[in-house]
């Protein structure tokens, strides 16, 4: 058995988890947690570039919390320049 085949047989490890507790957003309503994480992610990649690994934490948070149609609306607003917050780092 070759090394390649052995790697294929091993199951890929996937971690399924939602975002953890954040003391800034202690309420059941996590709308602002979603919004702030979206802002933080875009500030992060604007400062450090898309490949900067620590930014992933923010994108995991907002993708876990924000409904998909909110994310697409935020993206549209960002492109149109009407997103209601500064994304400058």
């Amino acid at each position: 058995m070759s090394a390649d085949a052995k790697a294929q047989e091993q199951p890929v490890k996937r971690v399924l988890q939602t975002v953890g507790f954040d003391a800034r957003f202690p309420n059941q309503n996590q709308t602002k947690h979603c919004f702030q994480s979206y802002i933080d992610y875009h500030k992060c990649i604007n400062a450090k570039g898309e490949d900067f690994a620590p930014c992933k934490q923010f994108s995991r948070a907002y993708k876990s919390l924000c409904p998909n149609d909110w994310i697409s609306r935020f993206d549209e607003q960002r492109e149109a320049g009407t997103f209601p917050a500064s994304l400058e780092p």
Partner: protein, 275 residues
């Protein structure tokens, strides 16, 4: 004529065994309901963009104002020339007016509720901040501060007018009330100027909506209070009031102080705190 009417009032107990005013048949209650219906339908037609909606609204407003003038004219005649307003009737009218002002307090409470609902926890759609992202609020320490001073001093002048009337000082009653009305008119003019110069409109987010809804409702009350005080002023000049019988003037004063207090809250929260 005045002496003759005072005689009717003083002799009243000899031909009426009770102090109450039994009103006679009047067309104004029914007429008012029709004009109010016209105004409400006109408002709906106007807001929904129906043809001639605005004209119907204007017609309803003019008719309602006309019927109010005619109705109040009857009341003034009943009080001043027929002597129907005994002290019992006066206390009934005063209590009724206090309850009316209480209902106005509740109306303003609901507008303030809307304001605090929107501003204390601003939604993400407006950037989670108050004023919302991109909204430039008016400077609280410019014209609004001047308006606060104007309204507070108008409250002082109306007190002068009131106490002068009680003391039988005709000059003080006339001048005090007149200056109150002038200050009220300046306030309304400055608010109109502020509205024209404001960098945001009624349609600019919940901020614009709640700002113009609250200050606009207050502005309408200032206009009504000014008319109320003007009617009282004319009646002082016309010798309608005595030093102890001037419930209409006192109701106008109560209304004016109410409008004043609402402005203090508006100034503190909508102008100073929220900008």
């Amino acid at each position: 004529m005045i002496n003759f009417n005072n005689q009717i009032a003083s002799q009243r107990g000899k031909f009426q065994a009770f102090p109450f005013h039994l009103v006679e048949q009047s067309p104004w209650p029914l007429a008012t309901s029709f004009t109010l219906l016209t105004m409400a339908l006109g408002a709906v037609a106007y807001f929904q963009g129906f043809p001639f909606g605005g004209e119907l609204l204007l017609l309803g407003f003019v008719l309602t104002a006309s019927v109010m003038i005619l109705w109040f004219k009857d009341i003034v005649i009943e009080r001043t020339y027929l002597g129907d307003h005994t002290s019992q009737v006066q206390s009934g009218i005063s209590l009724g007016f206090i309850l009316f002002v209480l209902s106005e307090v509740m109306a303003f409470l609901s507008v303030f509720w809307a304001f605090f609902h929107s501003s204390l926890a601003p939604t993400i759609e407006i950037g989670g901040t108050w004023p919302p992202v991109g909204i430039e609020s008016v400077d609280a320490f410019a014209i609004p501060l001047l308006n606060t001073i104007l309204l507070l001093s108008s409250g002082a002048f109306v007190t002068w007018g009131h106490h002068a009337l009680i003391k039988g000082d005709r000059f003080g009653a006339i001048v005090g009330t007149f200056i109150t009305i002038i200050l009220a008119l300046i306030f309304t003019g400055l608010q109109a100027f502020e509205y024209m110069e404001a960098p945001f409109s009624f349609a600019d987010s919940v901020f614009g909506t709640v700002f113009y809804a609250s200050t606009g409702l207050h502005g309408l009350h200032v206009i009504v209070g000014t008319i109320f005080l003007t009617v009282a002023f004319i009646r002082i000049v016309q010798y309608h009031y005595t030093d102890s019988h001037h419930a209409g003037f006192e109701s106008a004063i109560l209304y004016w102080h109410f409008v004043d207090v609402v402005w203090i809250f508006l100034y503190i929260f909508v102008y100073v705190w929220a900008s």
